[in-house]
């Protein structure tokens, strides 16, 4: 079951300069009653995005017509808290292809990678430069080049390289799926089970 391949991305950004954004904010628990993976994008950041009556809150960045794009830029420790993969589904469902932050929570990072949503971890300095660039000009674009593990503020930098596990990089570039991989090595698993029976 292939996931979407991650190709080189050029996009404007949506800035969210809040730290420790937890997965309860990304998708509140009351929306976790669904039994499919679809439709979570509509409730992404629901309590920040809409007021009680369901009206969009003007002061929230997703409702600000100045900002749009496939890249979310967020403060440090993004995705902390609950392991809900619904957070990654909501971000991807909304149309984000990458999240840039100076620090990600572990489980969120894994969940994102398993859904073709690329977490790009940059230095604090780069993140600040990027926030400033977007604030100055909301039309600022970044290029995220997974093959070369490089993020660049267009048109002429700065740029920074980012880390990604080589296995996960290969999966994303080729659209490979972990379960297919593991099913292919089931003889190893069986051997381990026999040895430890």
């Amino acid at each position: 079951m292939p996931i979407d391949k991650f190709v080189k991305l050029q996009s404007t950004c949506v800035p969210l300069p809040i730290e420790n954004v937890d997965t309860d904010q990304i998708i509140p628990a009351r929306f976790l009653k669904a039994t499919t993976r679809e439709g979570f994008g509509d409730n992404l950041f629901a309590d920040w995005r809409y007021d009680k009556s369901g009206k969009p809150r003007e002061d929230f960045v997703l409702n600000d017509p100045k900002y749009s794009g496939k890249v979310l830029v967020a403060g440090q420790n993004f995705g902390s808290g609950s392991s809900r993969e619904h957070a990654a589904w909501a971000l991807a469902g909304y149309g984000f292809k990458a999240v840039v932050s100076s620090f990600f929570a572990d489980i969120f990072k894994n969940n994102s990678l398993n859904n073709g949503l690329l977490p790009v971890q940059v230095s604090k300095e780069f993140l600040e430069t990027l926030f400033n660039a977007i604030e100055k000009d909301p039309a600022t674009k970044v290029e995220i080049d997974l093959e070369n593990q490089k993020i660049t503020i267009l048109p002429d930098g700065p740029s920074e390289s980012f880390d990604i596990n080589p296995y996960k990089k290969k999966c994303l570039l080729n659209g490979f799926d972990d379960i297919d991989y593991l099913l292919n090595i089931s003889d190893h698993i069986e051997a381990w089970e026999k040895e430890h029976a």
């Binding site: 420790n20 509140p28 976790l32 309590d47 440090q76 609950s82 929570a105 572990d106 296995y167």
Partner: protein, 488 residues
């Protein structure tokens, strides 16, 4: 630092780094991990064999659907146990669930378990309860195991000296399909708590204190072993509370070396090994603790005497203080974190520099996988015994499982609670995440024994203050934030 930002331990001289001695002994974590590595992907993660997989209704339906799409079975259904806990009512459990989506999701779990041959302790089953409460109390959780669940508080099971951690739904599918998980080996950290705990200080206070010191990202990338004399002195249930909240410091998981306290707890439980199997198991478990010369990537030490009853004032679990202390002032917060701190203060409607003592409380919640076990109910009950609930406070007491509920009945805890004006509800995750009807109303203040004070966690607009069961009890009888030591 008070804001839950990433902690720079080096600045505080609390840290020692691993040297290059490759002949060093192994840590508890490494012993279990190494034994469970099936194979390693070139340049990538290890393939980790999973001994126990817990499943609940919220994070599993898409995983079972995935198996169906692929046309495959659960590889080892006997290693998987399911329960319904997140999305169930805590009143009227004998009736059909009223909320249509919740009912559908809980029914879906039963359907999936039937189709794929997985044991289910569903609603009204005598073994039903919060997944992280029933695993240990049934003896399904044991030392030396690898344990996963689609829930970040799976780290609870680490209290038994096991590698236990939360996973996402794609990973739930991975484990159902292959009984293995692709995992990068985390770094290791040991956090030592040395010395004697002060009066009125519970294990919840220890873990809230650690998180307040290192922040919600302070252990990200690490698997934490909790050690030291204060940890050794704790009961299993108190140890579970600490490991439960490892995720709130960002850790992949937390664990505590198994010892006589552990063996005593496991012995005789429903699924625990019996007879000679038991003796053999204990013999193996005794080999698990970290070798004396084992080295950790990072080590922190705290003095138990520095810990007082804790309370959180903000919107992440790192924003906690000793109950006698004041909320930090703006100038005490790192510049880059000030905007986030301000947002948090606005949400809580607190002022920087405020004292927490005396703040009004509308709700009290005793329960959750953090503090919903029998010892927590005992602590709460013995505190409120002979006193009366404050009139302005609504109190929800939710046992972690039917077994906890039955035990509370047997010990007369229900009666003590009722005499003091409280009622005990039926088991479930309840107001910890407010997926069911147990929602704190907008703008109301709740003292909660659960694990997260995030915005809206206990209901849209709810304001949560995390604390121990006795600090919650003190709030329940006074109607305001009160130092429980005033009554001890």
């Amino acid at each position: 630092m008070h804001s839950g930002a990433v902690y720079n331990a080096e600045e505080n001289n609390l840290v020692t780094f691993k040297n290059d001695n490759t002949l060093a002994g192994k840590t508890l974590f490494e012993k279990i991990w190494d034994k469970h590595v099936v194979t390693k992907v070139d340049g990538g993660p290890g393939v980790l064999y999973i001994d126990r997989h817990f499943v609940h209704e919220v994070t599993s339906p898409q995983a079972f659907a995935g198996l169906r799409n692929r046309g495959i079975k659960v590889r080892r259904p006997e290693k998987t146990v399911a329960t319904a806990d997140h999305n169930i009512p805590t009143l009227g459990q004998d009736q059909p669930i009223r909320d249509e989506l919740s009912r559908f999701q809980v029914n879906k779990l039963a359907e999936n378990c039937r189709e794929f041959g997985v044991s289910l302790f569903g609603l009204n089953h005598p073994w039903n309860g919060i997944v992280h409460v029933i695993g240990p109390e049934l003896g399904i959780t044991r030392p030396g195991m690898t344990i996963v669940c689609g829930d970040s508080h799976t780290s609870t099971h680490g209290a038994f000296g096991s590698i236990a951690f939360g996973i996402g739904t794609s990973e739930v599918e991975m484990v159902l399909a292959t009984q293995t998980l692709l995992q990068n080996k985390p770094k290791t950290m040991r956090i030592n708590i040395e010395g004697d705990l002060g009066k009125g200080v519970m294990s919840k206070d220890i873990v809230l204190y650690i998180i307040s010191q290192i922040g919600t990202g302070g252990a990200t990338g690490y698997f934490v072993e909790f050690a030291g004399s204060a940890i050794r002195s704790l009961s299993m249930e108190a140890r579970m509370t600490i490991c439960n909240m490892s995720i709130e410091m960002g850790a992949r998981g937390g664990m505590i070396a198994p010892d006589e306290t552990t063996f005593e707890y496991v012995k005789g439980r429903e699924f625990a090994p019996k007879g000679t199997e038991w003796d053999k198991a204990v013999e193996e478990w005794r080999q698990l603790p970290s070798d004396p010369d084992a080295e950790f990537d990072k080590e922190l030490t705290f003095d138990a005497a520095d810990i007082e009853p804790m309370i959180t004032y903000g919107t992440n679990p790192g924003m906690g203080i000793g109950i006698s202390k004041r909320i930090p002032k703006m100038e005490e917060i790192e510049k880059s974190t000030q905007a986030t701190f301000k947002k948090s203060m606005q949400y809580m409607d607190f002022q920087p520099g405020d004292s927490m003592i005396g703040k009004k409380v509308d709700y009290v919640f005793l329960g959750s996988c953090t503090n919903g076990r029998i010892e927590d109910l005992r602590a709460f009950a013995s505190f409120v015994k002979g006193k009366k609930k404050a009139e302005n406070v609504t109190v929800w007491i939710v046992p972690g499982s039917h077994q906890v509920e039955a035990q509370a009945e047997k010990e007369g805890i229900r009666q003590i609670l009722e005499e003091a004006g409280f009622e005990m509800r039926q088991p479930g995750c309840s107001a910890c995440l407010a997926m069911n009807d147990d929602k704190i109303p907008e703008g109301n203040y709740a003292v909660s024994t659960s694990n997260r004070n995030f915005e809206g966690r206990q209901g849209p607009g709810a304001r949560t203050m995390l604390a121990s069961p006795i600090t919650a009890a003190a709030a329940a009888i006074t109607g305001k934030i009160t130092d429980p030591r005033d009554f001890l």
